[in-house]
């Protein structure tokens, strides 16, 4: 057991405790943001630097390429959110708790990514969920924020109860909570997994993970929560905690599907197509940018869910790449919205609906860096090359096309065509915001964009474009990660 492999988690846990202690003893808490940003940066360096694989704590946690790439996503998202929060929560007297919750949420997501045992998966999931319930309601004088937290909490805890019920049935069938052991038992007794109890367990697990991934019909909480929560927290939720659902689904569902050769293609194809179409169509009519981003994030979850349809190595790699790209694009977009909110509050302290699309009019003149980053993120989200969004979608759609051709299946091809049409549809609502920013006249003066926001935006823009122009190392990482699942 080589504990160095778990150094990032250990570092972030200790830092989370340290941050609360520092908050107790210090009067001015603005420095705490810098400490947690530095800690997250150190954790990122550790994640990139540490090579090796292993299992820990009686095989409850496993460190492998799949867990590492998702941990990199989580740490990058938290780093962006924390950097932006230095400005967003400046002079807030509860900053210490805020930063420690972000760190604990990150640790929870990392544990879920590493989980090799249903107990560890559940505990990691709950640690991240509980920290984010509180974060969503962090503006405790703001009714919208509290309402977002309440809806997120109620639906989140129902979904974890569903997941736990599914896990209890799986444990009853297999007699173990260790995921590889469960797969072995199921492989030895194929009848077990297709028995009615096995199917019920599978449905409960899909529902539990589906809530976190915000797949239609489990998406109701996402728009409300992303709209009401503080923008930097929405960035964390949309870009980070959603990916936790995906990593859990990759670990449990894909392993189960591949090992059992269960025929769930149609189920996931229908879920994915409904999710992306619903997300894109509803996003068109939104006037609140945060709500629009929430629906676009539902649509993106639909694209990523296509990876479950064919479960080849390439499609899983495509899903992981799109998840990585989406983390940067969506996280960056929500941070940019936070900056616009800051600008609107500078104009008028009592402004309502600060993320209304009208407030984006003339942003190209008022806040050039923000407007340019929103332009990059939105074009990337629409899948325009060279960007992370394009690479992810390309690999994913390509993998399904190959599979459709090799299986000579017309409906798989149809799924790809619907997905591509959906991407085209999404350009409409992204372009509308771009028109507001660059074509319509400004109704205010140029503002000074605070340095932390600008740093977070610039990092996200660099990441988005870097994956787009130099994708080989990222594709290789994603393929390595997908090979852990033992797929074709």
């Amino acid at each position: 057991m080589n504990v160095i492999l778990l150094a990032p988690e250990i570092l972030l846990t200790l830092l989370g405790l340290l941050v609360v202690l520092l908050g107790l003893v210090s009067k001015n808490k603005n420095f705490i943001g810098y400490i947690s940003a530095a800690g997250l940066f150190a954790a990122l360096i550790l994640l990139l630097g540490i090579k090796g694989q292993g299992t820990f704590f009686y095989e409850a946690l496993s460190v492998d390429p799949l867990s590492q790439i998702f941990k990199i996503i989580f740490v990058v998202v938290s780093l962006l959110a924390v950097i932006a929060s230095i400005s967003y929560f400046k002079d807030n007297r509860n900053q210490d708790e805020y930063h420690s919750l972000i760190l604990f949420a990150t640790v929870g997501m990392m544990v879920a990514a590493s989980a090799n045992d249903l107990v560890a998966l559940f505990v990691g999931f709950e640690l991240a969920s509980m920290a984010t319930y509180v974060l969503a309601g962090f503006e405790k004088k703001n009714p919208a924020s509290l309402e977002a937290a309440l809806k997120y909490f109620l639906i989140g805890s129902v979904s974890s109860a569903l997941m736990l019920f599914g896990m209890s049935l799986v444990y009853g069938l297999a007699g173990s909570t260790n995921i590889p052991v469960i797969i072995e038992v199921f492989q030895a007794n194929p009848l077990m997994a297709t028995s009615s109890l096995g199917v019920v367990a599978m449905v409960f697990l899909i529902a539990g993970f589906g809530f976190k991934m915000a797949l239609v019909p489990f998406h109701m909480w996402a728009p409300d929560t992303y709209e009401g929560a503080p923008s930097v927290v929405s960035a964390m939720l949309a870009a980070g905690s959603k990916k936790m659902g995906f990593v859990a689904a990759f670990k449990v569902l894909v392993l189960a599907l591949v090992a059992l050769r269960m025929d769930m293609q149609v189920t996931f194809a229908v879920l994915a197509v409904i999710t992306m179409t619903y997300g894109n169509i509803v996003a068109i009519s939104q006037t609140s940018i945060k709500r629009m981003l929430a629906y676009s994030s539902i649509a993106q979850a639909g694209y990523i869910a296509l990876a479950f349809v064919v479960t080849t190595q390439l499609s899983i790699a495509g899903g992981i790449l799109l998840a990585l790209g989406h983390a940067l694009m969506k996280g960056g977009a929500f941070i940019a919205v936070a900056l616009v909110g800051h600008m609107v509050l500078l104009d008028n302290k009592n402004a309502k609906n600060i993320d209304h699309i009208e407030n984006f009019a003339g942003l190209g003149k008022r806040a050039p860096i923000t407007a340019f980053s929103i332009l990059v993120f939105f074009l990337a989200l629409a899948g325009i090359p060279p960007s992370a969004g394009f690479i992810g979608k390309f690999v994913l759609f390509y993998s399904i096309t190959i599979e459709a051709v090799s299986q000579a299946s017309g409906w798989l091809l149809l799924v790809v065509i619907i997905a591509i049409l959906n991407s085209a549809l999404s350009i409409y609502y992204y372009a509308r915001v771009i028109r507001y920013m660059y074509v319509l006249p400004a109704n205010g003066v140029k503002i000074h964009e605070p340095a932390p926001y600008v740093l977070a935006l610039v990092l996200a823009v660099i990441g988005t474009i870097l994956i787009g122009v130099y994708p080989e190392p990222f594709i290789r990482m994603a393929l390595d990660a997908a090979s852990v699942l033992g797929v074709r």
Binding site: E126, L146, E147, L154, A161, L162, S168, L169, Y171, G228
Partner: protein, 99 residues
């Protein structure tokens, strides 16, 4: 008693909880129903564990009880904060966010 009786009781509790979550409009009652959902799973785990003579399920239950307690704590905290701002925890009145 056979394993099926325990599973049946757990399934009934789970159904009551699920029904309550869908029909109740009071925040506290919904929290109680969520507890029912979680405890139905715990009952399942313990029943499976004791009938198969394998302790993992009981350990899992201890974890999930601790987590359920923490979750209830957070839920009540959110409800209290909401009550201070809005003077209600009836979900029908909590509707600022909608499209």
């Amino acid at each position: 008693m056979s394993l099926y009786m325990y599973l049946l009781v757990a399934a009934i509790i789970f159904t009551i909880g699920a029904y309550g979550v869908m029909t109740q409009r009071n925040g506290i009652k919904i929290l109680m129903c969520i507890e029912l959902l979680l405890n139905a799973s715990n009952l399942n785990l313990v029943a499976f564990s004791s009938f198969s003579g394998n302790a993992t399920g009981q350990v899992f239950t201890l974890f999930s009880i601790a987590i359920a307690a923490a979750e209830a704590g957070i839920g009540f905290a959110i409800l209290v904060a909401l009550f201070r701002v809005r003077d209600t925890i009836n979900l029908d009145n909590i509707n600022i966010l909608r499209w």
